[in-house]
């Protein structure tokens, strides 16, 4: 077992365990912080997969942006002063059985499938290539996404502002 493999297991465990906590903690604040860990773990996995740029984006956008946003959401929608920020769960038994079975099937399928794996050589950094692709082949999508973000921004502001 080399270092990369070891790191993989570390990150995998961090990701999955924290994700498990995300969905099981009663206190929503705890969940949110577990989510932070999950995101970081996923970022680590990206690094292992040679996608350094995506990993950085993951950290910046998810950890820096989305998570903060979610925390704001939590703070603004729960009466922190009066009620403990705890939320109940429902359907736990049927959901865990169904989803367990579902996950089981997924996992077993993935394991049993004979994947044709032909890993490419790891480049030093993917940044240049990603940048090239982004500005050439995917330029339209890239711009559309820019517009989308703008629309989402305006839309979110206008929805939240109402009344």
């Amino acid at each position: 077992m080399n270092l990369a493999d070891f790191l993989f297991y570390v990150f995998a465990v961090i990701t999955l365990v924290s994700a498990f906590f995300v969905v099981t903690f009663k206190n929503i604040i705890y969940s949110a912080f577990s989510l932070l860990l999950t995101f970081l773990g996923v970022a680590g996995i990206y690094v292992l997969l040679g996608a350094d740029f995506i990993a950085i984006v993951q950290v910046i956008v998810y950890v820096g942006g989305i998570l903060i946003l979610i925390l704001f959401g939590v703070m603004l929608t729960n009466k922190i002063q009066n009620v403990p920020i705890k939320t109940e769960a429902s359907f736990i038994i049927p959901a865990s059985i169904t989803i367990g079975a579902f996950g089981g099937i997924l996992v077993s399928t993935f394991i049993n499938t004979r994947w044709k794996s032909m890993p490419a050589e790891l480049a030093n950094s993917t940044l240049t290539d990603v940048g090239h692709l982004l500005m050439n082949e995917y330029i339209l999508i890239f711009e559309l996404l820019g517009i989308l973000l703008l629309v989402a921004l305006v839309g979110a502001a206008s929805i939240a502002r109402k009344q």
């Binding site: 038994i93 049927p94 169904t98 989803i99 099937i105 399928t109 049993n112």
Partner: protein
């Protein structure tokens, strides 16, 4: 002399009135005197027409000018071959004569209307409508193909509709205009069917091409029977437009329109279009078709004549007399007397227009009183009107020295000859009898209107002679009703220029054994004399006509004299008591007074029948067809309610039953009923699991 400009000038004759119509209509409200546009255009058209007509008749009596262009090109049609639809114009002798008649009467009516319509609130619009009528009528006259004739045929119907319904505030006027249009449409349907048959067989609409094809032995569906049918169907158009039996009912009602309009449209030109149509298609009419035409003509000559005897509305009497005279022309064409039939159309146009304009003058003077029983003694108040009216009455009665004598006598001689040659004398008898009736009822209205004592003193006092613009057309038309314009011999028109040079019977193209026997020229004759090749009739016929002439003249003179005499005896000298006679023949009298109950009959059968059917169908549509739809909808609703119940008790029961065995699934199903999104997600995943288990081999 070059004839090529005739077509160009005819284009002007055709389209100038249309231009006048548009300008007058659009400027109508804003410019007070916009009707002057129409007047000027109509005068220009008249002058051009005179030039065209006489150039054609004097310099090119044997030439036919044709000009056409492709209107619609359907290209090489896969199943029918190459088809193009041409529009075009043709000027031959009868076109030229007809042009002259239309243009002259149209412009006279224009001038007359300036005074007659004075003070009407839609004065300008009236002239605009006259413009579109002139346009459409010129179109009928000038066209060289049957489709274009149909097009203008309908447009004439439209202008007639507009003018009859000109005073649409009156219910009777709007009723009459609608009736006129619809009754005409019935005839047009037949004509349209005829056009369809022609198109299917010849792929063209042009008269000359059709005639050429028939002459080459191409018959519709290869049978003479269908040629006869085509002829009769096309003639249906004429039945409608010329108000022939059994579609004559619209014309008397059409008298609701302004009187000058009646003179122009419903006496002289439009109704004569039917006769013109028959004249145009004369070469392709088989003997059987012509016989049909003759029968319709005879019936139309006879029935309205009997009705005219008892009517008291001056315009209605004239209307019935118009139908009767048109019947004469149609009958003449039907018995093969082409020249006289068409000739009568020309002379009749002048004196009948004159009669209507004269009646208009009387009505104008009497402040829109039309009942002859309330007139009388107007001779002294309206001298010019009286004398011109007298001339017209003499003409229509067929008294010598008038134009009417020439033509009517010719027609009677034609029927007589027909009787001699075929042994079928019914047309001759009808002709002579109607001639007597005509003389009687025309003098009846003349006497009741102008002679005797005034019946309505008040109106009589205020009556005065009409202004110059109304009198002048009357005088002009009266002059044109004298024989001298048509022939030098007042007793026989044969040698006159109209008949010998201008109106020639066109050569029939129908296979010989399908014609009247007398219309088949002897072979010898044809070969020997080249110049007679375009004459349809055989030598025998000419001979018979010659023989028939003298008896016809004498007999018709006697009968016309008898009719006039009777009229004087009844109404002038009061030798015979009208009322007593009326009582004696009460049933006949009422029958005639009520116009043979045609209107009632049509109304009871066709109109009510149609409305009844339409109401039944509307009910059917609303309750049965739609009922089925709504019924299906309610059945579906019931089914869904049932399935709802089923779902609630049976399915759900089963679910609950399952739940007791399998708590988890039951739980999931019960959660389902809460309608929460998350429950659905669970369910979706669950089903996904099942599917995956089923498909994926783990």
């Amino acid at each position: 002399m070059n004839g090529s400009n005739l077509i160009t000038l005819s284009l002007f004759i055709l389209f100038a009135p249309l231009v006048g119509f548009w300008f007058t209509l659009i400027l109508g409200k804003k410019v007070e005197k916009s009707y002057l546009i129409e007047i000027v255009i109509s005068t220009l058209v008249l002058l051009t027409t005179i030039y065209v007509t006489f150039t054609k008749l004097f310099y090119f009596p044997d030439t036919k000018f044709v000009s056409e262009f492709t209107w619609i090109n359907l290209g090489e049609m896969p199943l029918l071959g190459k088809v193009t639809v041409e529009l075009g114009m043709m000027i031959d002798n009868i076109t030229a004569l007809m042009l002259f008649v239309v243009a002259l009467i149209s412009s006279l009516v224009h001038y007359y209307s300036i005074e007659y319509m004075k003070g009407d609130k839609r004065y300008n619009r009236y002239f605009a409508f006259l413009g579109i009528f002139t346009f459409s009528m010129m179109g009928i006259v000038l066209t060289h193909n049957i489709l274009m004739m149909y097009i203008f045929w309908e447009l004439v119907g439209l202008s007639s509709y507009l003018l009859i319904g000109f005073w649409f505030e009156k219910d009777s006027a709007s009723d009459a205009s609608k009736k006129a249009f619809l009754v005409n449409r019935i005839g047009d349907l037949g004509m349209f069917a005829g056009i369809l048959l022609i198109f299917v067989n010849y792929h063209t609409f042009t008269f000359d091409k059709i005639f050429m094809a028939i002459g080459n032995g191409v018959l519709p569906f290869n049978s003479e029977f269908w040629l006869t049918i085509v002829g009769i169907l096309l003639f249906c158009g004429a039945i409608g437009k010329s108000a022939q039996f059994p579609l004559h009912v619209w014309l008397p009602d059409a008298m609701e329109g302004p009187t000058p309009v009646s003179a122009l449209i419903h006496a002289a030109t439009m109704v004569a279009a039917g006769v013109y149509l028959v004249a145009r298609i004369f070469p392709m009419m088989t003997g059987d078709a012509l016989l049909f035409v003759a029968v319709i003509g005879a019936l139309s000559a006879f029935i309205p004549a009997t009705i005219a005897l008892t009517q008291t509305d001056i315009k209605k009497v004239l209307a019935y007399s118009t139908i009767s005279q048109l019947g004469y022309m149609i009958m003449a064409l039907g018995v093969g007397s082409f020249a006289f039939g068409f000739f009568h159309l020309v002379t009749h146009a002048f004196f009948k227009a004159g009669l209507f304009l004269g009646a208009g003058s009387v009505i104008h003077a009497m402040h829109h009183e039309q009942d002859i029983m309330k007139m009388g003694g107007l001779r002294k108040k309206l001298p010019v009107t009286y004398y011109t009216f007298l001339i017209f009455c003499l003409a229509i009665s067929g008294v010598p020295l008038t134009s009417g004598f020439l033509t009517k006598d010719g027609i009677l001689a034609g029927t007589f000859a027909f009787g001699l040659l075929t042994g079928n004398s019914i047309f001759a008898i009808t002709g002579f009898f109607v001639a007597m009736l005509t003389a009687f009822y025309m003098f009846r209205i003349l006497i009741l209107t102008f002679h005797g004592k005034p019946q309505d003193e008040h109106k009589y006092e205020h009556a005065h002679e009409s202004p110059f613009l109304m009198i002048a057309p009357l005088v002009l038309l009266a002059i044109l009703s004298i024989f001298i314009f048509y022939t030098a011999n007042p007793f026989n028109a044969d040698s006159g220029w109209v008949l010998s040079n201008w109106i020639k019977t066109p050569a029939s193209v129908v296979p010989e054994h399908a014609r009247y026997s007398f219309m088949v020229p002897e072979k010898m004759q044809e070969a020997a004399v080249k110049t007679t090749e375009h004459i349809t009739h055989s030598e025998v016929y000419t001979e018979a006509l010659h023989h028939a002439h003298i008896p016809a003249v004498l007999l018709s003179l006697v009968l016309a004299g008898l009719g006039i005499l009777l009229a004087f005896a009844f109404y002038q000298w009061k030798k015979i008591d009208v009322d007593a006679l009326t009582l004696k023949v009460k049933p006949l009298y009422t029958f005639s007074l009520n116009k043979w109950y045609f209107d009632e009959f049509y109304h009871k059968t066709f109109v009510s029948g149609l409305l009844g059917i339409s109401n039944i169908l509307a009910w059917f549509d609303n309750y049965v067809v739609d009922g089925i739809v709504n019924g299906a909808a309610s059945v579906t609703r019931m089914l869904s309610r049932f399935s709802g119940v089923f779902d609630n008790y049976v399915v759900d029961g089963a679910v609950n039953l399952t739940a007791t065995f399998s708590g988890l699934i039951g739980l999931a199903f019960r959660k389902l009923q809460t309608g929460k999104v998350q429950a659905y997600v669970v369910l979706v995943v669950f089903s996904l699991v099942l599917l995956l288990l089923f498909f994926v081999k783990i």
